[in-house]
Amino acid sequence: MKFAIVVFPGSNCDHDAYHATKHVLGQEAAFVWHKDTSLQGADVVILPGGFAHGDYLRTGAVARFSPIMPAVQRFAEAGGPVLGICNGFQVLLEAGLLPGAMLRNRSIRFQCEHVVVKVECTDTPFTSRCSPDQLLRIPIAHGEGNYYAEPEIVEQLEARRQVIFRYATASGAVTPEANPNGSVRNIAGLCNERRNVVGMMPHPERACELAIGSADGLLLLESAVHSVGQGTFVTTP
Protein backbone atom coordinates (compact mmCIF):
# COMPACT_ATOMS: atom_id res chain seq x y z
CA MET A 1 0.00 0.00 0.00
CA LYS A 2 1.36 3.35 -0.97
CA PHE A 3 1.04 6.75 0.68
CA ALA A 4 1.78 9.85 -1.40
CA ILE A 5 2.97 12.80 0.64
CA VAL A 6 2.64 16.04 -1.26
CA VAL A 7 5.51 18.46 -0.68
CA PHE A 8 4.72 22.11 -1.13
CA PRO A 9 7.51 24.66 -0.81
CA GLY A 10 7.30 25.42 2.91
CA SER A 11 5.81 22.08 3.94
CA ASN A 12 7.64 21.07 7.10
CA CYS A 13 5.79 18.00 8.37
CA ASP A 14 6.38 16.09 5.14
CA HIS A 15 9.31 14.18 6.63
CA ASP A 16 7.25 13.39 9.73
CA ALA A 17 4.40 11.97 7.65
CA TYR A 18 6.94 9.96 5.69
CA HIS A 19 8.56 8.64 8.86
CA ALA A 20 5.20 7.65 10.33
CA THR A 21 3.88 5.88 7.24
CA LYS A 22 7.12 4.31 6.10
CA HIS A 23 9.09 3.55 9.25
CA VAL A 24 6.45 3.23 11.93
CA LEU A 25 3.58 1.81 9.91
CA GLY A 26 5.86 -0.09 7.52
CA GLN A 27 4.00 0.93 4.37
CA GLU A 28 5.32 2.32 1.13
CA ALA A 29 5.59 6.09 1.07
CA ALA A 30 6.69 8.60 -1.56
CA PHE A 31 7.15 12.34 -1.66
CA VAL A 32 5.30 14.03 -4.49
CA TRP A 33 6.64 17.45 -5.45
CA HIS A 34 4.00 20.13 -5.85
CA LYS A 35 5.07 20.83 -9.42
CA ASP A 36 4.38 17.22 -10.40
CA THR A 37 1.07 16.36 -11.95
CA SER A 38 0.81 12.70 -11.01
CA LEU A 39 0.29 11.01 -7.66
CA GLN A 40 2.47 8.08 -8.70
CA GLY A 41 -0.27 5.50 -8.28
CA ALA A 42 -0.69 6.09 -4.57
CA ASP A 43 -3.54 4.55 -2.59
CA VAL A 44 -3.71 7.32 0.00
CA VAL A 45 -2.76 10.97 -0.31
CA ILE A 46 -1.50 13.08 2.59
CA LEU A 47 -1.25 16.85 2.44
CA PRO A 48 1.16 17.49 5.31
CA GLY A 49 1.54 20.36 7.74
CA GLY A 50 3.81 23.34 7.41
CA PHE A 51 3.72 26.81 5.98
CA ALA A 52 3.23 26.30 2.25
CA HIS A 53 4.54 29.35 0.40
CA GLY A 54 5.14 30.88 3.80
CA ASP A 55 1.37 31.21 4.34
CA TYR A 56 2.07 34.86 3.72
CA LEU A 57 -1.20 35.62 1.93
CA ARG A 58 -3.46 33.21 3.78
CA THR A 59 -2.83 29.68 4.94
CA GLY A 60 -3.05 27.37 1.96
CA ALA A 61 -4.14 30.14 -0.42
CA VAL A 62 -1.25 29.83 -2.86
CA ALA A 63 -0.68 26.08 -2.48
CA ARG A 64 -4.15 25.29 -3.80
CA PHE A 65 -2.99 26.52 -7.22
CA SER A 66 -0.05 24.10 -7.30
CA PRO A 67 0.24 21.90 -10.40
CA ILE A 68 -0.34 18.78 -8.28
CA MET A 69 -3.72 19.95 -7.00
CA PRO A 70 -5.78 18.94 -10.06
CA ALA A 71 -4.47 15.40 -9.57
CA VAL A 72 -5.43 15.54 -5.89
CA GLN A 73 -8.87 16.79 -6.88
CA ARG A 74 -9.33 13.97 -9.41
CA PHE A 75 -8.11 11.43 -6.86
CA ALA A 76 -10.62 12.74 -4.34
CA GLU A 77 -13.46 12.80 -6.85
CA ALA A 78 -12.66 9.20 -7.72
CA GLY A 79 -13.15 8.28 -4.06
CA GLY A 80 -9.51 7.98 -2.99
CA PRO A 81 -8.66 8.69 0.65
CA VAL A 82 -7.11 12.12 1.20
CA LEU A 83 -5.91 13.36 4.58
CA GLY A 84 -5.06 17.04 5.07
CA ILE A 85 -3.17 17.68 8.28
CA CYS A 86 -2.97 21.20 9.69
CA ASN A 87 -1.63 23.23 6.75
CA GLY A 88 -2.87 20.40 4.52
CA PHE A 89 -6.36 20.89 5.98
CA GLN A 90 -6.07 24.60 5.24
CA VAL A 91 -5.11 23.79 1.63
CA LEU A 92 -8.17 21.52 1.30
CA LEU A 93 -10.39 24.33 2.55
CA GLU A 94 -8.89 26.85 0.14
CA ALA A 95 -9.21 24.34 -2.69
CA GLY A 96 -12.89 23.87 -1.88
CA LEU A 97 -12.45 20.15 -1.26
CA LEU A 98 -13.82 20.77 2.21
CA PRO A 99 -16.22 23.55 3.27
CA GLY A 100 -15.39 26.50 5.51
CA ALA A 101 -12.28 28.51 6.32
CA MET A 102 -9.70 29.10 9.05
CA LEU A 103 -9.36 32.17 11.24
CA ARG A 104 -6.54 33.12 13.58
CA ASN A 105 -6.64 31.31 16.90
CA ARG A 106 -8.79 33.08 19.46
CA SER A 107 -5.60 33.78 21.46
CA ILE A 108 -3.99 35.25 18.31
CA ARG A 109 -0.95 33.19 19.23
CA PHE A 110 0.58 30.08 17.79
CA GLN A 111 -0.22 27.14 20.05
CA CYS A 112 1.69 23.89 20.33
CA GLU A 113 0.48 21.34 22.84
CA HIS A 114 -1.17 17.97 23.23
CA VAL A 115 -4.95 18.07 23.05
CA VAL A 116 -7.66 15.47 23.33
CA VAL A 117 -10.00 14.92 20.42
CA LYS A 118 -13.12 12.84 20.39
CA VAL A 119 -13.82 10.63 17.40
CA GLU A 120 -17.32 11.48 16.18
CA CYS A 121 -17.62 9.15 13.21
CA THR A 122 -15.83 5.96 12.31
CA ASP A 123 -17.11 5.62 8.75
CA THR A 124 -14.20 7.42 7.11
CA PRO A 125 -11.01 5.86 5.76
CA PHE A 126 -9.02 7.49 8.58
CA THR A 127 -11.21 6.52 11.53
CA SER A 128 -12.40 3.04 10.59
CA ARG A 129 -10.20 1.45 13.25
CA CYS A 130 -11.33 3.84 15.96
CA SER A 131 -14.31 3.22 18.18
CA PRO A 132 -17.13 5.77 18.38
CA ASP A 133 -16.45 8.48 20.96
CA GLN A 134 -12.91 7.25 21.37
CA LEU A 135 -10.60 9.87 22.86
CA LEU A 136 -7.26 10.43 21.14
CA ARG A 137 -4.34 12.40 22.53
CA ILE A 138 -2.73 14.19 19.60
CA PRO A 139 -0.69 17.41 19.43
CA ILE A 140 -1.73 20.59 17.72
CA ALA A 141 0.69 23.22 16.42
CA HIS A 142 -0.93 26.09 14.60
CA GLY A 143 -1.70 29.78 14.62
CA GLU A 144 -4.80 29.53 12.46
CA GLY A 145 -6.94 26.60 13.45
CA ASN A 146 -10.05 28.48 14.41
CA TYR A 147 -12.48 26.75 12.06
CA TYR A 148 -15.31 28.84 10.70
CA ALA A 149 -18.21 28.21 8.39
CA GLU A 150 -21.53 29.97 7.85
CA PRO A 151 -24.13 28.76 10.36
CA GLU A 152 -26.15 27.00 7.63
CA ILE A 153 -23.05 25.17 6.49
CA VAL A 154 -22.29 24.13 10.06
CA GLU A 155 -25.81 22.78 10.45
CA GLN A 156 -25.41 20.88 7.23
CA LEU A 157 -22.07 19.45 8.40
CA GLU A 158 -23.75 18.25 11.58
CA ALA A 159 -26.76 16.85 9.77
CA ARG A 160 -24.57 14.93 7.37
CA ARG A 161 -22.25 13.76 10.14
CA GLN A 162 -19.25 15.37 8.53
CA VAL A 163 -17.67 16.46 11.81
CA ILE A 164 -15.11 13.74 12.49
CA PHE A 165 -13.13 15.08 15.44
CA ARG A 166 -14.00 17.52 18.22
CA TYR A 167 -11.75 18.99 20.87
CA ALA A 168 -12.71 17.48 24.23
CA THR A 169 -11.60 17.36 27.84
CA ALA A 170 -9.63 14.40 29.17
CA SER A 171 -12.93 12.85 30.20
CA GLY A 172 -14.50 13.36 26.81
CA ALA A 173 -16.68 16.42 27.42
CA VAL A 174 -16.91 18.81 24.49
CA THR A 175 -16.67 22.12 26.35
CA PRO A 176 -15.44 25.66 25.61
CA GLU A 177 -12.49 25.02 27.96
CA ALA A 178 -11.39 22.08 25.85
CA ASN A 179 -11.42 24.22 22.71
CA PRO A 180 -7.85 25.46 22.11
CA ASN A 181 -8.50 27.89 19.27
CA GLY A 182 -12.11 29.03 19.22
CA SER A 183 -13.15 26.63 16.49
CA VAL A 184 -16.91 26.57 15.87
CA ARG A 185 -18.56 23.63 17.73
CA ASN A 186 -15.07 22.52 18.83
CA ILE A 187 -14.47 21.17 15.35
CA ALA A 188 -10.96 19.68 15.06
CA GLY A 189 -11.54 17.72 11.86
CA LEU A 190 -14.15 17.07 9.23
CA CYS A 191 -14.80 15.16 6.04
CA ASN A 192 -16.45 15.81 2.70
CA GLU A 193 -19.89 14.52 1.82
CA ARG A 194 -18.48 11.43 0.23
CA ARG A 195 -16.43 10.88 3.43
CA ASN A 196 -13.14 10.08 1.67
CA VAL A 197 -11.49 13.48 2.18
CA VAL A 198 -10.62 14.30 5.79
CA GLY A 199 -9.02 17.47 7.12
CA MET A 200 -7.84 17.91 10.69
CA MET A 201 -5.81 20.44 12.66
CA PRO A 202 -4.17 17.99 15.12
CA HIS A 203 -1.09 16.14 13.87
CA PRO A 204 -1.61 12.35 13.95
CA GLU A 205 1.84 11.83 12.38
CA ARG A 206 3.34 13.34 15.53
CA ALA A 207 1.53 10.81 17.70
CA CYS A 208 2.63 7.49 16.27
CA GLU A 209 5.18 6.41 18.87
CA LEU A 210 4.97 6.31 22.65
CA ALA A 211 8.55 7.58 22.87
CA ILE A 212 7.43 10.95 21.59
CA GLY A 213 4.40 11.19 23.83
CA SER A 214 1.52 9.33 22.20
CA ALA A 215 0.77 6.59 19.70
CA ASP A 216 -2.91 7.45 19.28
CA GLY A 217 -2.38 8.98 15.86
CA LEU A 218 -1.22 5.68 14.46
CA LEU A 219 -4.84 4.48 14.58
CA LEU A 220 -5.70 6.95 11.84
CA LEU A 221 -2.99 5.70 9.53
CA GLU A 222 -3.83 2.09 10.33
CA SER A 223 -7.42 2.91 9.50
CA ALA A 224 -6.33 4.06 6.06
CA VAL A 225 -4.42 0.83 5.46
CA HIS A 226 -7.40 -1.18 6.67
CA SER A 227 -9.92 0.74 4.58
CA VAL A 228 -7.91 0.45 1.42
CA GLY A 229 -7.26 -3.21 2.15
CA GLN A 230 -10.99 -3.81 2.62
CA GLY A 231 -11.70 -2.24 -0.72
CA THR A 232 -13.62 0.62 0.80
CA PHE A 233 -12.43 4.05 -0.24
CA VAL A 234 -10.34 3.13 -3.19
CA THR A 235 -10.18 5.17 -6.34
CA THR A 236 -12.63 4.10 -8.97
CA PRO A 237 -11.03 4.40 -12.37
Partner: protein
Protein backbone atom coordinates in the same frame (compact mmCIF):
# COMPACT_ATOMS: atom_id res chain seq x y z
CA UNK B 1 -2.04 51.53 -13.73
CA UNK B 2 -2.43 50.99 -10.03
CA UNK B 3 -5.25 49.17 -8.30
CA UNK B 4 -5.77 49.03 -4.58
CA UNK B 5 -7.49 46.02 -3.10
CA UNK B 6 -8.88 46.11 0.43
CA UNK B 7 -9.72 42.78 2.00
CA UNK B 8 -11.66 42.56 5.26
CA UNK B 9 -13.37 39.82 7.18
CA UNK B 10 -17.11 39.75 6.54
CA UNK B 11 -19.07 41.52 9.27
CA UNK B 12 -20.54 38.24 10.51
CA UNK B 13 -17.11 36.66 11.04
CA UNK B 14 -15.38 37.01 14.39
CA UNK B 15 -12.08 38.87 14.06
CA UNK B 16 -9.68 37.80 16.84
CA UNK B 17 -7.00 40.28 15.82
CA UNK B 18 -9.40 43.20 15.61
CA UNK B 19 -10.76 42.32 19.05
CA UNK B 20 -7.28 42.32 20.59
CA UNK B 21 -6.50 45.68 18.96
CA UNK B 22 -9.77 47.13 20.23
CA UNK B 23 -8.97 45.97 23.77
CA UNK B 24 -5.46 47.35 23.54
CA UNK B 25 -6.73 50.74 22.41
CA UNK B 26 -9.15 50.76 25.30
CA UNK B 27 -6.38 50.10 27.81
CA UNK B 28 -4.50 53.02 26.27
CA UNK B 29 -7.53 55.18 26.97
CA UNK B 30 -9.05 55.35 23.49
CA UNK B 31 -12.51 54.49 24.68
CA UNK B 32 -14.04 56.39 21.77
CA UNK B 33 -12.82 53.64 19.47
CA UNK B 34 -15.76 51.30 19.57
CA UNK B 35 -14.58 48.55 17.27
CA UNK B 36 -11.64 47.60 15.08
CA UNK B 37 -11.69 45.24 12.13
CA UNK B 38 -8.31 44.24 10.84
CA UNK B 39 -7.84 43.64 7.15
CA UNK B 40 -5.33 43.43 4.33
CA UNK B 41 -4.34 45.95 1.73
CA UNK B 42 -2.75 45.21 -1.66
CA UNK B 43 -1.31 47.48 -4.31
CA UNK B 44 -1.37 46.00 -7.81
CA UNK B 45 0.66 47.50 -10.65
CA UNK B 46 -1.35 46.53 -13.70
CA UNK B 47 -0.48 46.75 -17.33
CA UNK B 48 -3.92 47.55 -18.72
CA UNK B 49 -5.33 49.63 -21.55
CA UNK B 50 -8.15 51.15 -19.57
CA UNK B 51 -9.40 51.70 -16.07
CA UNK B 52 -12.21 49.23 -16.72
CA UNK B 53 -9.76 46.56 -17.78
CA UNK B 54 -7.59 47.19 -14.75
CA UNK B 55 -10.62 47.02 -12.49
CA UNK B 56 -11.78 43.78 -14.06
CA UNK B 57 -8.35 42.23 -13.59
CA UNK B 58 -8.08 43.42 -10.01
CA UNK B 59 -11.53 42.10 -9.16
CA UNK B 60 -10.65 38.76 -10.68
CA UNK B 61 -7.38 38.58 -8.74
CA UNK B 62 -9.15 39.48 -5.52
CA UNK B 63 -11.85 36.91 -6.07
CA UNK B 64 -9.50 34.13 -7.08
CA UNK B 65 -6.54 34.64 -4.77
CA UNK B 66 -6.33 37.75 -2.60
CA UNK B 67 -9.51 37.11 -0.64
CA UNK B 68 -11.09 33.95 0.65
CA UNK B 69 -14.72 34.70 -0.05
CA UNK B 70 -15.87 32.20 2.55
CA UNK B 71 -14.82 34.64 5.25
CA UNK B 72 -13.62 37.79 3.52
CA UNK B 73 -15.03 40.50 1.33
CA UNK B 74 -13.05 42.86 -0.86
CA UNK B 75 -13.18 46.28 -2.47
CA UNK B 76 -11.16 47.57 -5.42
CA UNK B 77 -10.07 51.11 -6.26
CA UNK B 78 -8.32 51.96 -9.51
CA UNK B 79 -6.03 54.92 -9.95
CA UNK B 80 -5.44 55.96 -13.52
CA UNK B 81 -2.22 57.85 -12.88
CA UNK B 82 0.87 55.86 -11.94
CA UNK B 83 2.28 58.82 -10.00
CA UNK B 84 3.00 57.83 -6.44
CA UNK B 85 1.89 60.03 -3.68
CA UNK B 86 4.77 60.95 -1.41
CA UNK B 87 4.25 59.53 2.03
Amino acid sequence: MRARVFVTLKPSVFDPQGTIVTDALHTLGYDAVKNVRQGKYFELEIDAGSEEEARRLALEAADKLLANTVIESYRVEVESSTERSVP
